[in-house]
Subunit: 327 residues, 2 copies
């Protein structure tokens, strides 16, 4: 059995999108439920998901373990795994790590572009590495089964997180820096640190992370994946599309600026291009995962490798890392 898993989406959720997930045969999606939200605001977002689970039980269900992906597949539904792009939801309280895990969170980024209480983000000028609280929180995340995600973190912080963490960590959504030298893409030493610890990286189709952005060719994207597989081993990679479907541009402002600045921060965009960029033609939404499969075959991946990249590698990772650490 092969699975189709997307390790990052942040859409403007609707019945339409849930139906597209089913049409695209997507068995599981890691969805962002918090950028800069406090604990209470994050709980409100979970409440909103609970209402969707109650309203669309034939389309979606909460995912908490790898077995929930298998169950979702059997039942013809998509398992939704919660994650945070910033540690804002745990505020300054390490006890909230276990609470948010109990509420369903399975990934938490230690920083989002900026310095956090735990680690440095990839837009800061200086990266002093993992903080005192960061060290404690990584150990607590290890204990309960909340995965450290360093997608938006700076290099030194990421490498230190991989070293400190006793369990594999993840970069859920990014690409290779030498293919597309965006601040958010990852240099080889960073990828190496993550995979040496048993970790995973998901490849992003967010245009700012792509070579030639919205005009990126499917072949170029898939050749980048082949390069990564040659360099580091295919088993460490999957998809983390970073699909931000149907979002108004106000949302990309919230993602970039939250409440931390009175000035506009364009992040990966610019004053001339402040909004969400258009998706590449070969990946508009959840119905297009088949195009990626086709592209991966075209650059020479075997059927087993394609299955691994499209979901089986993430499922193995979910199985190992979402439950409490054995005592």
């Amino acid at each position: 059995m092969t699975y189709r898993i997307d390790a990052l989406q942040y859409a403007n959720w609707s019945e339409k999108i849930f139906r597209q997930m089913r049409e695209g045969g997507v068995d599981a999606v890691h969805v962002t439920i918090s950028y800069h939200e406090t604990f209470r605001e994050t709980v409100l977002n979970i409440e909103q998901w609970n209402r969707w689970f109650e309203r669309y039980p034939e389309l979606i269900c909460l995912g908490e373990t790898g077995d929930d992906v298998r169950r979702a597949r059997e039942e013809g539904r998509t398992a939704i795994f919660f994650g945070f792009q910033n540690p804002a939801p745990i505020e300054d309280d390490i006890g909230l790590v276990e609470i948010v895990h109990k509420l369903g969170a399975r990934f938490m980024q230690l920083s989002y572009n900026n310095q956090s209480l735990l680690a440095t983000g990839c837009y800061e000028a200086e990266d002093p590495g993992i903080t005192r609280m960061g060290w404690q929180v990584i150990k607590e995340m290890n204990r309960v089964g909340l995965v450290v995600d360093m997608s938006h973190s700076a290099d030194r912080s990421t490498i230190e997180a991989a070293e400190i963490s006793e369990r594999p960590i993840a970069i859920t959504h990014a690409n290779l820096h030498d293919w597309a030298p965006a601040l958010r893409n990852k240099r080889d030493d960073v990828v190496r640190a993550v995979i040496d610890n048993g970790g995973m990286m998901g490849f992003s189709m967010y245009p700012h992370h792509l070579k030639d952005k919205s005009d990126c060719a499917l072949g170029s994207f898939c050749r980048m994946i082949a390069t990564a597989a040659d360099r580091f081993g295919v088993e460490h990679f999957g998809i983390g599309s970073d699909l931000c479907q149907d979002q108004p541009d106000a949302i990309v402002e919230w993602m970039r600026t939250g409440r931390w600045s009175k000035q506009v921060d364009y992040g990966e965009g610019s004053a001339a291009n402040p909004g969400f960029p258009p998706q590449p033609a070969w990946f508009r939404d959840n119905r297009d995962f088949g195009n990626i499969e086709t592209g991966l075959r075209a650059v020479g991946f075997s059927e087993a490798e394609v299955a691994g990249l499209m979901g089986d590698h993430w499922l193995r990772f979910f199985d190992a890392n979402f439950t409490p650490q054995p005592a």
Copy 2:
């Protein structure tokens, strides 16, 4: 197999008390984790329990279903079930019902002495019954498996809650009003409404609920239980000791006055006797459940009836009422 379950305690928790639970062979305890606490303050109390679960895994574990009581018994531990004596933790947000259930809450009182957003408390002069929000919250509690507890509610509100609720409700800790006419004890029509709906009542050993208070004789308490069994059927009853062990008197002030009054409210006490009253000699703490068993046998209950009253009836109730309502 017979189980020993206490359907209400609010102790100043410590390793000493957890060890006394084991010494007393107590398989499960419903513990109050909130009186007047907001949602965030309630989560802090759950965080404190998580630290105790991590620190004393050989003594206690979180209880979420009836099977957790069986597992705790097999492992020689006490299963801890969370509950609230007031709906303060859900604030004005019905979405928090499912959230607190996910975090482990299994009982919630709709009011505590005073009027709440949901129902009237037993100290109010007027009881207008279940509110608009109360009706909605009862249905949501039914859906997720959070039990309606009316221990501190007024009569009309209690009877209406029993009628509105599609699943059995509980009075976790009180006694018969015609045995000890305290405001908190229950008149026959209230008990009848609760048991007609399949509900349960736990008998309290809090001195203000006892005939002759701290001087109450064990025989008198057990004869009151025999009266209740004759009148309503033994299968609807169990123990809800209301043990408030090792608490400083500041806590009874918090229970009674919270933040709702600047004036002292003595509740069931008085200016001359404002603190916690002394426990009756035959029930000092968790090690004394054997005395109650002996007392129940002495008033003529069979071994099966004693087992039912000491825990098996509550276990049957836990099995039926802590999981989501079938669709």
